[in-house]
Amino acid sequence: MNKVYFEVKGASKSFKTKSIFQSVSFSLQQKEILSLVGPSGTGKSTLLRSIAGLEPLSSGDLYINGVSMSQKKMKDRPIGMVFQQPLLFPHLTILENVIYGLRLKKKKREAEIEGLRFLQSVGLIDYKDAYPHSLSGGQQQRVALIRALIVKPKLLLLDEPFSNLDPDLRRELRDWVLKLLKQEGMTAIFVTHDREEAMLLGDRVAVLAEGSLQQIGPPRLVYDEPANELVARFYSDALIVDQNHYILNQHLSWSAHPNPADDQLFFEAEWLNDTYQYGQRYAHVKLLKTNRRYVVPLQSDEHAMINGERGFICARKAAIHRFTGREETDE
């Protein structure tokens, strides 16, 4: 059950003297989807490109079923990739695009039959003879995904495939992608900077920040028990008390006046605004000590303040938790 299918060991990458990421290690089981999140510019895409073989690793290695990939040429790596842009060949039809990878291994007729069957199963058969420019961005990305899937790679990499789409299309497409990946039993790494997307698609989530892997684990666990300040800031919703302690946002409340009690903590903050989301009211406030913004759940009858007015973020002392540590081990 816990058999390792894909493994990255001590991967590092630097361009000249500039280090992009160092000693990244993690592993995936078969049919598992990992969401790789992190602030932009932390080398998520470079890590993905290195796994694909588009860039060489500076050190470290990759294994699929225990077979090392680093010495393999790109065309011998059973790894597929979907890019930010669909990058469909503009002068080829949808069918020709879809079977591009198959054609490298199979006869034209066989490839076409397989391509048509795949297009049929995902409901894009009507577009088989169309050229890419006549499809919408979302449709193009679907075709790009099929083009990568049809050659049955052992590992599929998705590099922010929804980032160029508008929000509605994005939501629709990611459900479709998840369904298809699960249906095909694909092992995949999905890069995104969108937290919600990471939770929706990933069986596990890995947070890459400042050049190293900060935490990896089930979406809920990483959210509730961030390993450190970086994870808390980027992936969780938590008030960072100090280097070692945090309070999850759900335990915070807002009060105009300090209410001294032994088991209560107060942090002076400035009121910015209030919003409503999924039936809940939230106060957007700025903590004076750190100048950082927080979103605090609010009673719907709590009266709104004026932008700039001072108040307090309150929490029970018992809600304070210690960061779980730098890295979660696999066991």
Binding site: A52, G53, L54, M74, K75, I79, G80, M81, F83, Q85, P86, L87, L88, F89, P90, H91, L92, Y100, G101, L104, K105, Y131, P132, H133, Q140, R147, A148, V151
Partner: protein, 288 residues
């Protein structure tokens, strides 16, 4: 009223369309002159044109010179761009390529004469080095019957032209598609056939056609560097046009009109065939 918007679009095209009409008119007039005899319309000149021995000599000679010049210019120019485009685009190298473009063809022809003629600089230098006994020992490279001087001049002038036409294409080749092909398991050969060739082909064909018609029918260089027989088509047509007899004047028109017709149709067909793919490629949605 429905016509208004269409007309509005057409207004700015009027000057260009007038120009097109002007060119078309000139060709029609060439044809008219070629079928106008002293006693009315006749195709007699076309018939007797094809009985002219000078015509066949000229056509085959022109074809030979054009074929060699065009194919070598394209192959060499394309080869240079393929292997060097990464650094030519943003360097002084590009300025050097422009230098031959500054000079008219006949000036470059004169330079070839100055350099490679029997009394030229190279011949003189070889004599001074003691490698030649006399001027006559130097091979006749220009104003020769084989067309060597003409071909050298054209190669020297057209290779830079090919470079300058192809460089922008290579600068805009979408590199991301190369990565897509690699992750799909393709090799460099597939990158060439799927991306490079479709992107480059239209421009290559365009350059091929421009050079072919230009070299086949240009007057300036062969008039300077050619021998008296055989003559390139333009020189022959020029002789005929200023010849004494009416027949010959009509031959000039007939010859040039036939070439225009063949080349025009050839170009039109190639463009119609290429336009669809070219249009699809222009729709490419990679990030530039």
């Amino acid at each position: 009223m429905k016509w208004r918007p269409n007309n509005k679009i057409l207004y700015p095209l009027i000057p260009a369309l007038l120009f097109l009409l002007f060119v078309l008119y000139s060709l029609v007039m060439s044809f008219v002159e070629s079928v106008r005899g002293p006693d009315g319309w006749t195709f007699e000149y076309y018939r007797s044109l094809f009985e002219e021995k000078r015509l066949y000599a000229s056509i085959s000679y022109s074809f030979f010179v054009t074929f060699i010049s065009v194919s070598l210019s394209l192959l060499i120019g394309w080869g240079i761009v393929r292997s060097c485009h990464s650094f030519i685009e943003k360097s002084v190298g590009k300025w050097m390529v422009w230098i031959p473009m500054l000079f008219p063809h006949f000036v470059w022809g004169y330079f070839v004469l100055l350099l490679l003629g029997q009394s030229g600089i190279v011949s003189s230098a070889l004599f001074q080095l003691g490698w030649l006994e006399s001027r006559e020992d130097f091979p006749i490279l220009v104003q020769d019957r084989s067309g060597f001087g003409i071909i050298i001049t054209y190669l020297w002038k057209e290779i830079p032209f090919v470079l300058l036409m192809l460089l922008p294409v290579y600068a805009q080749l979408p590199k991301q598609y190369g990565e897509v092909i690699q992750v799909l398991g393709g090799s460099r050969r597939h990158v060439f056939s799927t991306i490079e060739w479709p992107w480059v082909k239209p421009v290559l064909v365009e350059v091929l056609l421009i050079l072919t018609v230009f070299i086949f029918t240009a007057y300036e260089v062969p008039a300077l560097l050619g021998s008296s027989y055989p003559q390139m088509t333009a020189v022959l047509a020029y002789d005929w046009f200023y010849g004494i007899s009416w027949d010959e004047r009509s031959y000039a028109f007939a010859l040039l009109f036939l070439i225009a017709l063949v080349m025009g149709l050839l170009s039109l067909v190639s463009f119609i065939l290429l336009n669809r793919k070219r249009w699809l490629i222009s729709k490419s949605q990679h990030q530039r």
